[in-house]
């Protein structure tokens, strides 16, 4: 499937063919994509602007807040600080890829049950980071969860609910 890169970021680069990269093949939530991103596009911008997957949020856009956390080949990364063109062949999982057939991921359910959010802006990043935190085996205690979730900032201060949700989901995993 060919997708046109976001207008505006590509126009200047398109005038100079040397700035174009090769075709980028990535799988996002199991769906393969063939793209020709502008070299300047972050993975976050390709997800949001090219693929319309706006669940992943742009917070600080400098790698400090964690709102843009996604899994690349199973590992959590901040998608704002990495160029999309450097991920040829990668398998990306975003918040849109967690629910299976209308059934929420257990951590999504736990966030609802434990009020792990207020405004919700940081929540997709919190949940993606939490999924990885549990998979890494770093969710053994509230102290451990707080340390290993420190890359995700919540300005509403919903941390007690976030830690409770991850604790709960880790016990059920």
């Amino acid at each position: 499937m060919a997708v046109t890169p976001a207008v505006g970021t590509i126009s200047a680069a398109a005038q100079d063919s040397s700035t174009m990269t090769d075709t980028l093949r990535i799988s996002v939530n199991g769906t393969p994509h063939e793209l020709t991103p502008d070299p300047r596009q972050s993975l976050l911008d390709v997800l949001r602007e090219t693929l319309d997957l706006t669940g992943t949020k742009k917070g600080c856009n400098q790698g400090a807040c964690g709102a843009c956390t996604v899994l690349v080949d199973g590992k959590r990364v901040v998608s704002c600080l990495t160029l999309a063109a450097m991920h040829d062949g990668a398998e990306i999982t975003t918040i849109e890829g967690l629910a299976k057939g209308g059934e929420l991921h257990p951590l999504q359910t736990a966030f609802i049950e434990h009020d792990g959010l207020q405004c919700g802006f940081c929540t997709p990043g919190q949940i993606m980071s939490g999924v990885a935190c549990i998979a890494e085996g770093h969710a053994g205690s509230p102290e451990e969860i707080r340390f290993w979730m420190s890359g995700n900032i919540c300005r509403c201060g919903a941390y007690p609910g976030i830690v409770a949700a991850i604790t709960d989901a880790a016990e059920r995993a």
Binding site: D16, L81, E136, F147, S150
Partner: protein, 325 residues
């Protein structure tokens, strides 16, 4: 972000040729992309080196060897690192966030740029960003800045934690450039700012970091990293100390100390080490030796607290290392 071209290197030779033609290396990109977006870094060409075969983590005798592209999280979780070099693992875990540790390469970690706020603030003078423009931090908000190795041109600290561990443990690095390979101590990678703060390291044009080698030994197995900071995690050090100890018959036989958050480069504390050889590792000896770290310090208006904090951090890190016995 300004325009740039991106190419991918299939071999170290490809990468070095691209660098000779003006390209900058990019691996994890966590520093470079951030600073390119701020237009503090303005490379016109990037060469992606992630496909190069430099990802290995291996044991040679008691030495550990890290390929330059090994990620912080991979090294920190490696069983041989935890067994032979717990200080390296601890210093890595205490740095950045889980996401950034999955992304950042060990070579890039050593070459990361300073976190002085004025470095990325275009309306403030900064000799690193624009040589000759002045140093806003000198009379500005300098609570987090250095007390060792500073100059009138720059007072920014080197931000890496693992570099402090590497300097303490006498790690060496192997690099390859247009004229071949060479090895040198990691400590010699870093330059003092002096009159040229825009020059931060001693790599020659086109040189590519291949690997970092950390010598093992009894002291390396009994080593800790203490990082004092404003938050419990995901924050840069106000003061940090890496301490490695070998105690035999109740006295210190081998000791290595280096500190972060205080120097314009990772700072080895050789006077403290010398004072401890042959002494019992009791609190009085550790505190007396730690005070020697203050020689040559030059506090600024807002970081006087580091004069108190530095020896305390060193003494406590040594105690923590001693508790591993």
């Amino acid at each position: 972000m300004l325009l740039f071209t991106l190419q991918k290197a299939g071999s170290p030779e490809d990468a070095i040729a691209a660098a000779q033609a003006g390209a900058r290396y990019i691996a994890g990109g966590t520093t470079l992309i951030d600073l390119m977006r701020e237009e503090v870094e303005r490379p016109e060409r990037l060469v992606d080196i992630n496909a190069l075969p430099l990802k290995d983590i291996r044991v040679e005798g008691e030495d550990l060897v890290f390929g330059a592209l090994a990620r912080m999280s991979e090294i920190a979780a490696h069983p041989d690192v935890l067994r032979l070099q717990p200080l390296v693992a601890e210093s890595l875990i205490e740095g950045a966030s889980p996401q950034l540790r999955n992304m950042a390469s060990i070579g890039g970690n050593l070459l990361q740029r300073v976190r002085c706020p004025y470095f990325r603030m275009h309306d403030a003078a900064c000799n690193k960003r624009q040589p000759g423009s002045g140093c806003t931090a000198l009379d500005g908000l300098n609570g987090g800045h250095a007390i060792l190795g500073t100059s009138e041109q720059c007072v920014a600290t080197h931000p890496s934690d693992v570099a402090v561990a590497f300097v303490a443990l006498d790690a060496t690095m192997r690099v390859r450039g247009p004229d071949g390979e060479r090895s040198f101590p990691v400590e010699e990678l870093f330059r003092l700012p002096g009159d040229t703060p825009h020059l931060e390291h001693t790599l020659l044009p086109g040189e590519l970091i291949l690997e970092v080698r950390v010598p093992g030994g009894a002291h390396a197995r009994q080593a800790r990293y203490l990082k004092v900071r404003d938050r419990a995690s995901y924050e840069f050090a106000l003061v940090s100390a890496a301490a490695a100890l070998e105690i035999e018959d109740g006295v210190i036989r081998t000791v290595r100390i280096a500190c972060g958050g205080v120097g314009t480069k990772p700072w080895r504390m050789r006077a403290c080490e010398q004072a401890l050889i042959g002494r019992p590792p009791d609190r009085a000896n550790l505190e007396a030796a730690a005070k020697l770290a203050l020689e040559g310090t030059r506090p600024l208006a807002h970081n006087h607290y580091k004069i108190e904090l530095l020896p305390r951090t060193i003494a406590r890190a040594l105690e923590m290392a001693g508790e591993l016995a």
